[in-house]
Assembly symmetry: C3
Homo-oligomer: 302 residues x 3
């Protein structure tokens, strides 16, 4: 869990993912010699802060977003949300501006958001939840499990992956915009017709802890039934525990794959969490294990 611990302690609010990008560049370059297959590794200004790994001859691409929700400092101690963070009085926030590090609390008054830092914070400064990681009773609890676990899943997948794209996208939590140019690059380099979205979903009345990774049959958007059926068939064959989700809202990088000028099937697969978009997102370690296992299986057989 050392890797996961590191991932959880890196700030990368949507639009400012550079620290995570730098970590991933270094991590991949240090580790890839031990991986089963040596990937092509693409990053740099041409890709903003995104990264792509091409293993062998890809049939499928896995997308994992590296940004987190957070807040932009406005005027008069106001905050504006980035993505859809839950807001509760007293949540600890951290960040940094030209005058130094910031540690303060979230204050909500009649739906408006403020910080309680004693001095004014420079306009446009990005704040995010302070990190507290707790592992016990079969659970991990922390801020940003969405989508640090999705990144973790991808990095573990890289160790044995023979064929496939592994793609780290940016600013997914806030309207997206990197998947279109990533897809263009993929389709012009080594095109694919299938995608998986490595991301974290929700505990609901139909989805419980410890019951396995979630295959999402729909959220606000609807993947093709024919592709879902193939994935579910393979998941059954794999013997790995999984759950089927049906939602009417929510979205992911899948939305942008759906609307791209390429006929690419997509499906969201990931562990479910409680306390979504709070500092205490909570995921079952068993569900995380089955997420890792199912990605390994699907990338071999899909």
């Amino acid at each position: 869990m050392e890797l996961l611990n590191k991932l959880l302690n890196i700030h990368s609010v949507s639009g400012d993912e550079r620290l995570m990008t730098d970590f991933l560049i270094e991590y991949v370059n240090q580790r890839k010699s031990q991986w089963k297959v040596q990937p092509e590794f693409y990053f740099g200004g041409e890709f903003h802060d995104c990264l792509l790994l091409k293993f062998g001859t890809p049939k499928t691409a896995v997308f994992s977003h590296i940004d987190t929700i957070g807040f932009t400092v406005r005027y008069e101690d106001q905050l504006v949300s980035i993505g859809g963070p839950e807001v509760e009085n007293g949540f600890d926030l951290v960040g940094e501006d030209a005058l130094g590090p910031i540690k303060c609390r979230l204050v909500e008054i009649d739906g408006d958001l403020f910080h309680d830092f004693p001095r004014a914070i420079v306009r446009g400064t990005l704040l995010s939840f302070a990190q507290v990681i707790r592992i016990n009773g079969g659970f991990i609890q922390a801020a940003y499990l969405d989508n640090r676990l999705g990144i973790y899943n991808c990095l573990k997948l890289c160790e044995s992956l023979e064929n496939g794209w592994v793609v780290f996208s940016t600013y997914e939590e806030h309207g997206g915009g990197s998947v279109p140019f990533l897809l263009k690059f993929i389709q012009e380099t080594s095109p694919i017709k299938q995608a998986l979205v490595s991301d974290i979903t929700w505990i609901t009345e139909g989805i419980s802890h410890h019951q396995g990774v979630v295959i999402s049959m729909r959220d606000q958007f609807i993947p093709r039934k024919i592709y879902l059926n193939r994935i579910i068939k393979l998941a059954l064959e794999s013997g790995i525990p999984f759950q089927l989700e049906v939602e009417g809202s929510g979205g992911s990088d899948g939305r942008e794959i759906q609307h791209s000028p390429y006929a690419i099937d997509w499906c969201f697969i990931g562990a479910a969490e409680d306390n979504v978009h709070t500092p205490s997102e909570k995921v079952s370690l068993l569900d995380l294990d089955s997420m890792l296992a199912l990605y390994r299986y699907l990338m071999k057989h899909l």
Copy 2:
């Protein structure tokens, strides 16, 4: 009306249009030898469940979506809407899961949707309105006139079409996503600058039955005035009855043409219906006739 009858009895909820695709492949292959011009016919995995027909040297493309609204089965007998179906207690729903065929009713309680099938239905199963077709008094009444009539219009158009693309798109009712890759293929194969959207619109205080096909001057999105003016001028010259619509909401495949990376003018033209997105959509047969006639005229003169 045998063709229309068949179209109306095929299930193809957004994301699961395969049965309609298969029908259209077979229909086109059986009939095209009798058409005035032999088209190029494109379909298959590369196009998901969409189909394209290229006649002669196209200047204009006609788009018709082949999906319908419906419902996804969730947990605990809950349903989630696909597209924007009207919901009323007692609407008959049909579908099929691994355990067999399903016939049940829609139940609405405080805005939440349920089915009343005696057993649990497999998660992710798609249900749609049971079909009852009534033709009398100058009207046709059925579920899914939107957009079975749009498909019908296209297939009749094919019989005499000399130049043009006829395009069957998928999952239009629920957020779209096929038009971008269809347009990319069209522009890379035989590009066009003009499009018509063969779809069904609404009876309102300004649009009546039996007054002719509707040329929509705007819905949520706004086509270019210069293109509208050309179409209206041609419609006047044609002598075919038509009505002009101005709406502030609603959308169609036109939305995705507007937002594509191609400068393509678009206009929605179709008969108007009462009881939109219910099992009893109602269209005047005279309006349907004028829709067919106007498409034939425009595809020759636009």
Copy 3:
């Protein structure tokens, strides 16, 4: 101010920008021989009513939308908004239909909009605010400062620009759709990685008149922090007065740049106005001056 006066008196509601396009073609062709660098000038059917100027070897593109908000005439004296105009009883509206020129007033009843013209107006006719220009006390006040000032800024920029794209986009106020094909053309002709959006923003509790041009750190969408930081550093070096804005809503051509299949950074920079989307938009002439100066500086140093 003669140029600005002319721009303010041209009708070009979203979807019907032809008059502005024609004016810009004539203006550029008359003036360009006096400009420091002779640009390539692109316009015509292939670009709908948009125009592009390529100066030297571009690193950055400036986007300015040439449409305005307005109203579409519906049935029974109803009006439907184009873009998001403020509505107040008695606002003067002008337009023209087949029967002649129209001058009437806006009537709002329980949220529904009507005109009070004595005769019926042809369906689909476009109306816009009557123009009244007032320059005094260091302010300009008129309808459509958003985005006539953005166009004006671009035309003044052209006089001394050595390298860069200047792009005039259409139908931005109502959902956009021209930026995708403009970007495709730019990237296939002389690609760029940086964009500026020359548009007008809002006076708020954090943004005041006479304090300089506004650099927007975010609106509904979020530009990359790394690009913002470079722009702010250059703005500080320039000595030109500027203000930093942080908003949670609103959008611009930047939205479509963000969602394009190209990795292009964007930032909205423009003067702020009071009375947004009314006939009396109000901008400080000092802020307009600093807008002009900052664009000249950034296009040289960015």
